[in-house]
Symmetry: C2
Subunit: 328 residues, 2 copies
Amino acid sequence: MKIPTIIPCILSLLICCSACAGDPLPSWQDTAPKQAIIAFVGKVTQPGSSDFVPVAERIATFDNDGTLWAEQPVYFQTAFSLDRIKALAPQHPEWTNREPFASVLKGDLKSALAGGDQAQLEMTIAVQAGMTTDEYKRAVTDWLAVARHPRTKRLYTEMVYQPMLELLAYLRTNGFKTYIVSGGGVDFMRPWSEKVYGIPPEQVIGSSLKRKFEFRDGRPVLVSTPELNLIDDNVGKPVGIESQIGRRPIASFGNSDGDRQMMQWTAAGSGPRFCLFVHHTDAEREWAYDRKSADGRFDKALDEARAKGWTVASMKDDWKFIFVGDQK
Amino acid sequence: MKIPTIIPCILSLLICCSACAGDPLPSWQDTAPKQAIIAFVGKVTQPGSSDFVPVAERIATFDNDGTLWAEQPVYFQTAFSLDRIKALAPQHPEWTNREPFASVLKGDLKSALAGGDQAQLEMTIAVQAGMTTDEYKRAVTDWLAVARHPRTKRLYTEMVYQPMLELLAYLRTNGFKTYIVSGGGVDFMRPWSEKVYGIPPEQVIGSSLKRKFEFRDGRPVLVSTPELNLIDDNVGKPVGIESQIGRRPIASFGNSDGDRQMMQWTAAGSGPRFCLFVHHTDAEREWAYDRKSADGRFDKALDEARAKGWTVASMKDDWKFIFVGDQK
């Protein structure tokens, strides 16, 4: 064995060792959800157990908005769209007479968002179509470096949930491959998912526009078109999972009705399965919303979770800390 | 450290050790292509080198038909379609009057394939649309277990190239993530790619039909529709790569004009890049074809490879053995 080759081996040995020590989920209360997670991971990783799952099949899928990071008062991608529309307005004189853009430019957020998901989708497409993948990535990265959440004044990437970061790490330590499966844009998440969540771009599944290969200034580029490729929400989530992974997850994590079909698809496989919803119950430390919320509505999925015995984790009761950094 | 946890650590140590020993590409002649591969891998894995590439960025993409396994006298997926059409004919009386199906059922392969790629695509869609992902997977697996290549009488999965298996393993040992990026159907390749190539389903990118989430007999299923999702060939290859990986490969391997845009996309990234074409030059041990072949045409890409100094490996001159098992 050459010396350079032995180094990764020793490193992997050290990583194995450190991962065994201590409580893997210190920001979770010692309540039922934490116990259910640990029991599930214990049985699927126990060699010889009838519930044992080979490493290659340990696929875990996570919704993003409201599951890994916050989604109030608006989806963070929508906050990005709003800022981009203002920045790009000089190049789009037609926006002054066209909704939802006109309201955005007047600073009337309520009217701009009155069109619901459709209005947000139109804004998303407007700020991405025509850009190359590299240009869009740069725009997202530049924005995230400076934009602040209106209430907490934190960077948006500091609005991620500490208990979920611990859960991602715990699953990976136990041989799981962790994926994001989000209604949000895949190109919006990939530039920072590895740094923030430890999830590489190839394990991020999301909504997307169709892309086109062409040459600009003699160099090959990929350009986003205004045509939708996939809405990775509701029935689109199992479709996105099959398209990109080609295996059924054994564990899924979400927070809203948009995650219901992903859970149904996960739960319908053979062998041990685990489904968990994050319930936004903490008006003081985060937000409290479920059945009547426009974004992140948790209604049919809450009924189904209760009927089927899926785990529901209450932010207020089951999490010691909410955001990364809160525990310091 | 618990005992069960130490086992994978020791295993990974052993795997590291065994991979360093001996010639990693024993079925390649010691000619320019092998030397170019080894020089490239050496420099991107050399810590401290200006050409060093972090493990996460070591993405290598491989075409399948004609690059990892043979593609003559017809694409193997077309051989599957032909057999399926015959098997399904009783349920499709309309096929007796519709081309290319009528010719297939008469046993007139030449007329059936006269429609070129379009005819093959129609057959592909006809044998998959309406099936659930599980049903289709079973059909592919059952067929591959018994179908034999018309000339060699081998199983199709024994028509894979030994030098390319060694190359896949060599790259993985050096921290590369190996992907298939094929014009063939993703659902046709995923059931066997892990067993045959060591490439898991989530690292297989291919052409696909749109899928639909629905309930059948009270259970959630994914059903293929007759509508195309992606033709993962030519300009579709960089699109498929971006969609599923979200990173640009640093090395790509192909054999035909359909791989040209994948190579252009790979080569246009910054830092060290490697592009290799397999040239079918061995009429005795395999097939000899390039500029004038209907399937696997290698014409514009051959010119571009020569102009840009991309590596072209001649099966006849650069490979000691062709198919898996030949070296025994």
